[in-house]
């Protein structure tokens, strides 16, 4: 288990990705090099209006430079204030936290199922896999949103050389429908020819559908869950989920990454 740092970091870049999405890069974070795909950081804002920290998954790191990037969508007070941060502003970061993704074998076909603001950890995972020599054409990156505006950072994802499949509910970009419908079509069309592994992150309904697909077609893999979590280190017990084998797990420290079929979603 990595010992997390609890220290101040400074905003060095804020990019408006449009449609309420922002990419924030923080520097001077000593544990940047230890943030793996699937890890999250717990961010404390320098104001008293937002009392608790906010968990943010890591979208990329620049190891030598001690920089980490998070990508957020403005959904409430905390994310609003984060999007308003200016270059040089200080925040306090606790992390890296949680259990990261298990990287697949290099020869494996990988299905990524990203929904809305759930895409950053999968972007990091795909980037890391490619950097470690995973053939990008084996990565099927499904990315769903309500409409074209919800699919952000397209050039960056495509640049990895992977197979990019945008899916929108209104058909304004890529195929029409839910991302999990597109994934199911892919799985059934390739049945018997490939044995893929699946990684998912996104809204609750998408995770539930992905988990069902995994169990229905015998496709293993991992899902990264989201939950409001006061502490992020396993001491408040506020973020529990029910396990299929019975009992509870804490999303913050037993997860946020769980195996398909492990959690009752």
């Amino acid at each position: 288990m990595i010992k997390p740092a609890c220290e101040d970091a400074y905003l060095i870049q804020s990019k408006d990705l449009r449609n309420s999405y922002y990419s924030l890069t923080f520097g001077s974070f000593s544990k940047a090099g230890q943030c793996r795909p699937g890890h999250f950081v717990h961010v404390q804002l320098p104001c008293s209006d937002v009392f608790l920290r906010r968990p943010m998954s890591v979208a990329s790191v620049s190891r030598g430079k001690k920089e980490i990037e998070i990508i957020l969508k403005v959904l409430g007070r905390g994310t609003r204030m984060m999007s308003d941060l200016k270059k040089g502003d200080r925040i306090n970061i606790l992390g890296p936290l949680g259990v990261p993704f298990r990287l697949p074998r290099r020869s494996q076909t990988v299905i990524m199922v990203a929904g809305g603001v759930g895409f950053p950890p999968l972007l990091y995972l795909a980037t890391e896999m490619v950097a470690k020599g995973h053939d990008p054409v084996l990565i099927e990156f499904f990315y769903g949103g309500r409409s074209a505006g919800d699919i952000v950072e397209k050039p960056r994802i495509k640049k990895l050389g992977l197979k990019f499949h945008p899916v929108t509910e209104d058909g304004s970009l890529g195929s029409l429908g839910l991302v999990t419908q597109a994934v199911e079509e892919y799985i059934t069309s390739r049945k018997g020819t490939v044995k893929p592994v699946m990684y998912g992150c996104g809204p609750e309904g998408m995770l539930k559908a992905t988990d069902e697909l995994g169990r229905k077609y015998g496709v293993g893999g991992q899902l990264s869950l989201e939950a409001p979590m006061p502490c992020g280190i396993g001491i408040c017990l506020g973020c529990v989920v029910n396990l299929r084998q019975g009992g509870h797990a804490r999303v913050c420290c037993d997860g946020p990454v769980f195996d398909i079929g492990e959690v009752i979603l």
């Binding site: 609890c6 502490c231 001491i235 017990l237 529990v240």
Partner: protein, 305 residues
Amino acid sequence: MTPDMKVTIAGVELANPLMTASGCCGYGEELANLYPLSKLGALVTKSITLKPRLGHPVPRTAETASGMLNAIGLANVGIDDFIREKIPFLAKQKTVVIVNVAGSAIDEYVEVSARLNDQPAVDMIELNISCPNVNEGGMEFGANSRLTEQSVAAVRKVFSRPIIAKLSPNVTSIADIADAAAQGGADAFSVINSLVGTSVDVDSWRPRLTNNKGGLTGPAIKPVALAMVNAVYERSRLPIVGIGGIATWSDAVEFMLCGATAMQVGTALFIDPFTPVKIVNEMKTYLKKKKISAARDLVGKVRKY
């Protein structure tokens, strides 16, 4: 000269006056990954009940102005697993171990406490007669002088080391309840448990907690806690462990001035798990500056009008 940070609660010496609060540090394992627990004056475990409890369904925490609500519902491993799986770890820690005990009937408090009496690693117990988040028992005991006295007296018969009674703020007179706990044989008080509160989502019209209400904690409750610590201090000669929104060294000093001998840090651990360690170090600086040789010299020294 380094100020003397040692304090004594019911004959048990603590290296410093800062403890973790029950329900805010599990059984200590997670914090031990961050710093040696010897840096704490004491560690107070999650409430232990006779049987394991999963607690209430989520959402069971909600953010509020300068604080939070929780209705975890006494989730814990139960006394059997606690003794088997958690005590061996706690026994190795170089800090005072205080086990918080909860129950829904006096018999349950007695049975759990009797089992803990056989565990030498347990230095003291803290009786949670004030949990706002269980339907049966809990706060009911601590809101009634007669039940408070009865439950403390029953546990007194089976537990030979110090008993701290954790008092509820959700009462008319906390000093009267303190009297009853002392009558029953308590050796110290912890003041206060959380304040009953709730919060409602205006879109769904649903409470933000599945339990519909919960306990308010964090800096929002500090002024209430300070007044209650002082009320108990003026009534009783037993030592007080102050709790309620402590996040900085000055919060801790305020509690000592109002009558607390030691303090527990709860919600602040969720924001910064290093809080108690930082408070101890910063209190030393304060004491040096004020030319006070021992932290315990602050207890009850508020200069009232």
